[in-house]
Amino acid sequence: MASGVLKRLIPALALSAAALTVQAGESITLASTTSTENSGLFGYILPIFEKASGIQVNVVALGTGQALDVGKRGDADALLVHDRAKEESFVAEGYGAYRKDVMYNDFVIVGPAADPAGVAGAKTADEAFAKIADSGSTFASRADRSGTHAAELRFWKAVGKDPEGKPWYKASGSGMGATLNMAAGVGAYTLSDRGSWANFKNRQDLKILFQGDPQLYNPYGVILINPAKHPHVKKAAAERFIDWITSDAGHQAIADFKLNGEQLFFPLKAK
């Protein structure tokens, strides 16, 4: 009896396994950041590209550092990340074939509405970070080698503070969303990209306290994984995506993406 059931079950499952792996047409793997995925940008622009090209883009959303690692190992065809210094050394070391500018958005400093550090009165982002450190206000850090984490570390360095190990500095070691959940939970300050913040629903007492400083500029670049290093990279399909997202059509799609009526990403003309 049981074996009879099993005999009928096995072909059914084998079939379902086959159905799992079938993908219509060509596809590429794009390792990107949580900021682009969580904001809903990909959900908006990728169907436009897929319709035009017939190429499906499989997005794996990670932090920038992790996405670069995945690229180094050859587990993606292209990267869309935001840490220009690391992106350039990634290409220089031969892991990437080339890098192109795609778009930018900006970081915002969010924190408890009461603003114990007085960040809202700061004139520059540097000053805002210095105020947080000087007042010893709780700060939730990504601490995950993401692009946002790298930006945050640049600010601490610029104002000569070393928050590592301080009781007010909470290293969450997790994504933007988890870090925002933490900041909301304990009433901490944190640095967020505007897209993740705009799409974040569990704000509780958090609000944007500082924004608009040119220091908070956050550019994104696209990189083709070097086919010379990883021969299995789907070069043709990945290049079609790169060409599209840096073209006028791609830029238009990026500019058209709005959340609650607000444009979150701004196309960058290639130099």
Binding site: L13, L20, T29, V59, G74, D75, A178, L180, H232
Partner: protein, 234 residues
């Protein structure tokens, strides 16, 4: 807390509307996990029975190891399978990373020790009862394993259900090896993690309720099947 009532309302709406996207994710969860449990059954139950019946040095140690592996953190399994399937890893040429197949492999690694450990306990208890009869029949150890597995098949359904429960509820491994890719490798648990990270806690809990309802239905189905089949045999 208004959050919970909102979550239940959302869960109800999700189930009621039969939301196509949610349905697709539910089906993928079921496919991946049932395939993993099927393989786990084929490997884990005989393995457990052999550990129960076999006489070999280090048997106790093997039993302790298998029991210990029940507590294997899924995220560790995820990292290990990731390194194995990565293009730079030993099985890189197959290009399995970030596919449902990778998720099945990771879940097999997770459920085999659990299913083997339960099977070992169940079969060992039965073996103690029938040891003399089986010896009198001059059964070899392999025949003993087969007879006991067949004889314990109803009790062993617990092992299968436990495996299914673990496979469907774990998130650490499938997140790493599957990548939570929309329309490709997104399953219930990774979707819940994603909604949590977006701060949409009511939707996260709603999906959790859907997952729980699904696991309860599977268990109820298994229970009903077991009852009818057992009645027929009595």
């Amino acid at each position: 807390m208004g959050g919970f009532s909102q979550a239940f309302a959302e869960a109800f709406v999700l189930l009621w509307r039969f939301d196509a996207q949610v349905l697709e994710i539910v089906l993928r969860s079921l496919q991946v996990s049932s395939l993993a449990v099927l393989i786990g059954t084929a490997v884990g139950l005989p393995l457990g029975a052999c550990l129960a019946v076999g006489q070999f040095p280090g048997k106790q140690t093997a039993a302790v190891i298998i029991n210990g592996f029940m507590g294997l953190p899924s995220v560790v399994v995820g990292v290990v399978v990731y390194l194995a399937l990565s293009r730079s890893g030993p099985m890189g040429e197959f290009g399995l990373l970030y596919t449902p197949s990778a998720m099945v492999i990771a879940q097999v690694v997770l459920v085999v020790p659990l299913m083997a450990a339960i099977a070992r306990q169940v079969v060992e208890d039965a073996w103690r009862n029938y040891q003399e009869e089986l010896a009198a029949l001059r059964f070899g150890w392999w025949d003993t394993v087969r007879v006991l597995l067949h004889d314990c098949r109803f009790s062993l359904s617990v092992a299968v259900l436990a495996g299914l429960g673990r496979a469907m509820s774990e998130v650490g491994a499938v997140m790493i090896v599957g990548g939570n890719i929309d329309r490709a490798t997104r399953v219930m648990t990774t979707a819940i993690a994603l909604e949590t990270s977006k701060g949409d806690l009511p939707l996260a809990i709603a999906l959790g309720i859907v997952l729980l309802v699904l696991i309860l239905l599977l268990n109820a189905g298994a229970f009903a099947l077991r009852t009818t089949v057992m009645r027929r045999f009595e």
